[in-house]
Symmetry: C2
Subunit: 459 residues, 2 copies
């Protein structure tokens, strides 16, 4: 927290107008928090409407070495957009136009403030969708999805955000507008700056326009729910399923404690060591074959029971258990540390066994579930945040979870990003030389270090 | 061309041994050329066997500011690995081990010298393949595929090289070993250095190991060959085909002059304005549906005739015309400028019309064919390289092709890369600010500018 230079304030107040430059206490607080429940006071909030206005903000901040924190819809779980050092929060909420829908080129050009769900609505009449489907889709912005390389269950078939971006326009920390990629799906022309900026959490450049790769909407979905004796049997089924040419549209896992939690909360699920939710999408002619093939692959040692949902209503019943899980978590303990770790698919059983051992060691419930086809599991350490001893145990368990994941050749985050929540584990995930290369790239695009300082890279 | 410092020669000769450090004239010439038919004399050729040896070469070259040109199998068409300024050519041919096949994780870990086809052979028993399929697959190395972001016909469904890489180990121009990504398919952890280095043609870092994303082999393929009145009708069919949920496994285009050439050379094809070769892959149960759906989408205004190949032998007959094309090109004129430009799919008709106009203006045959589903067409300017006037006209037509492509919002290269062949057009493809950002990234990873100087980025 600092006082902004008078010159900067005057310049930007005039450039952005009274609804584009906010300095009241409520705005500075409101734009200074995200879904991590952490917050800090911004010194001012900029709400530009154009690329030129973004450039003006970046240049003014650079001239005065003032931190500049780009912000989407504030749904991050990592405090990635919290202005811990004060400075200017630049909200992209008003840059929310869909610039062009290009069905013949299977792409859309959007400003970063467009909400994920708003884009999906606009695409539906064209029979298209944009694959990233984070659970916050109704609230989160495309810009935030791009900044964090957001994912969701569909990523197993369609990829995460980075896989569904064709081009970007962005403003670097030097105040330069750069443009790379475009309305095409194959590109061997120069350095791939677009995909470098995706997932960089506003530390390299501020995304002001994106060309998004779209996918045709399948006619129908059908699904399976399979219960297994243990996580190892379920993981073996995941490998069998992923070895088939037709990749499932979703492939979700729940561990023993997640299933036990659902049973305690009245869900109609059997007592089992692990569960898979498996979904196929496609057309009416071929979907029955896809479903049968997935059922065949789900079959194997350790399978306890298998439910098939060939139509929409049955599918909704199967998915009800998955949807009930997050609310049910709150019934265990008020506090939750939810990390979205990734391991190679073959190491899922080791991850689940390791997490069970940590739950016993720290005497806390730990619930694991998530996107098994990508080896991307949400590990939820549950604790009473009013109980100092439990809070301390939860905080002590967290580094052990990351150490376990890294020992299994996995990585820290699959879809939430690093922010500050996981920043201090980066030095365990990467060698000093690799971190030095990341820092050199940061310095190349943001020479004065004004863009979202203190995020992603450890000090 | 320069004399190498004595100290560098002595250090590396000792470190690499007599079969790892070559200075004879034949080797210096042989490792100094690629498939562009351009060449220059290297001052020495290094053939390391280990990452440590690569590091030793980079550090020695950096200490003496000597150019270091990484080289795969020398099949590039852009002179990307030709040592125009002399220096050390570092061939990765002896780093050719398949480090690990991990079918349960659908990935393989390889050294860069493994040939594309050798990897495919090793994967076949596991029912897996690596999607990039450049026409040089029998000869080219994985390292070269990575350096150029190589593609091929399968990219329309499976993506090009960048889309099929999960992680890299590379040695930067600073001599540091960096490691990013791994045996997992979802990653929101720090900057994506792996995909930045893919396609950078040895100018940012030298790839010494890669974790490759594998795809399950489909049981079968089936295909269609459709002839259209003109390129516009064919391009409309491409958009219809690409709007279907099931993406074809290949979607190749030939223009009027390619068809005329085939007819003159005795191929059994009708007189038409454009041709599409469309292929589906999948399993025996569902392939007939996929084929029917593609046939339905191929149907439309301007369709002249449609052949279906439901089995392997019929498929080979359909593809024979495509395979006959490259040899047939040589029968027109001895000289060929082959550029792999990209345009948005909807702009293919404009590209083809523009190329026809240029052929008339410059009085030279120009043949266009290629990967229509990606908007990635090979534009072949044919000329007599013994005729000075024709050669001059061909060279004058080339910048007009690139200007046309850029006016259509396309880009210079889809799968060959830039090298020196397209380097001087980069300033038309990118803004000065975007090029400056690329240069800053180059300086970040290669602070002394020793890695493949003079390639990709214009002076």
């Amino acid at each position: 927290m600092r006082d902004l230079p008078f010159d900067l304030q005057q310049t930007l107040a005039q450039r952005l107008g009274p609804d584009g430059w906010l300095t009241d206490a409520d705005s500075r607080r409101r734009y200074g928090e995200d879904d991590s429940r952490r917050w800090a006071l911004a010194d001012a909030v900029a709400l530009p409407r154009t690329v030129d206005e973004v450039v003006a903000v970046v240049r003014a901040c650079r001239a005065h070495k003032v931190p500049l924190i780009a912000r989407g819809a504030g749904t991050a779980t990592t405090a990635a957009s919290v202005p811990f050092d004060g400075g200017v929060v630049l909200s992209l909420a008003r840059m929310n136009r869909i610039v062009a829908l290009r069905p013949a080129d299977r792409c859309a050009v959007v400003e970063p403030g467009v909400l994920n769900e708003a884009l999906q609505h606009a695409l539906a009449p064209h029979g298209l969708f944009w694959p990233p489907d984070p659970s916050s889709a109704a609230l989160c912005s495309i810009g935030g999805n791009l900044a964090t390389n957001a994912g969701g269950p569909r990523a197993v078939k369609y990829g995460a955000t980075r896989d569904n971006v064709l081009g970007l326009v962005a403003v670097t920390g030097a105040g330069d507008v750069i443009r790379c990629g475009g309305a095409y799906t194959k590109d061997a022309t120069g350095y791939d700056l677009a995909h470098l900026i995706v997932g960089s959490e506003g530390t390299l450049a501020i995304i002001v326009e994106a060309t998004l790769k779209l996918a045709p909407r399948p006619q129908a979905q059908a699904g399976l729910r399979a219960f297994y004796r243990d996580a190892a049997s379920a993981a073996a089924a995941v490998s069998r399923i992923m070895a088939r040419p037709a990749t499932p549209a979703m492939l979700e896992f729940m561990d023993r404690s997640a299933i036990a939690l659902l049973r305690r909360n009245g869900s109609d699920v059997p007592d089992a060591g692990a569960m898979l939710l498996i979904e196929a999408d496609g057309d009416h002619d071929t979907l029955p074959y896809a479903l049968q093939a997935l059922a065949d692959a789900a079959e194997g040692d350790g399978l306890v029971s298998l439910d098939v949902a060939a139509d929409g209503a049955a599918r909704d019943r199967l998915w009800a258990a998955r949807k009930a899980l997050s609310p049910a978590l709150r019934t265990i303990k008020p506090g939750k540390i939810n990390e979205d770790v990734v391991v190679p698919v073959s190491r899922i059983p080791d991850l689940v066994a390791g997490v069970e051992a940590l739950a016993a060691e720290f005497d806390l419930p730990i619930v694991a579930f998530g996107h098994a086809g990508n080896g991307n599991l949400h590990v939820n350490i549950m604790y009473d945040d009013g109980d100092a001893a439990e809070t301390a145990r939860a905080q002590a368990a967290l580094p052990r979870v990351f150490a376990l994941v890294l020992a299994l050749e996995g990585t820290l985050s699959g879809e939430h990003g690093i922010g500050v929540a996981k920043r201090d584990y980066m030095a365990q995930a990467f060698s000093p030389e690799t971190l030095a290369a990341m820092r050199a790239i940061k310095a190349a695009l943001d020479p004065d270090g004004i863009l979202n300082p203190g995020k992603v890279l450890p000090a």
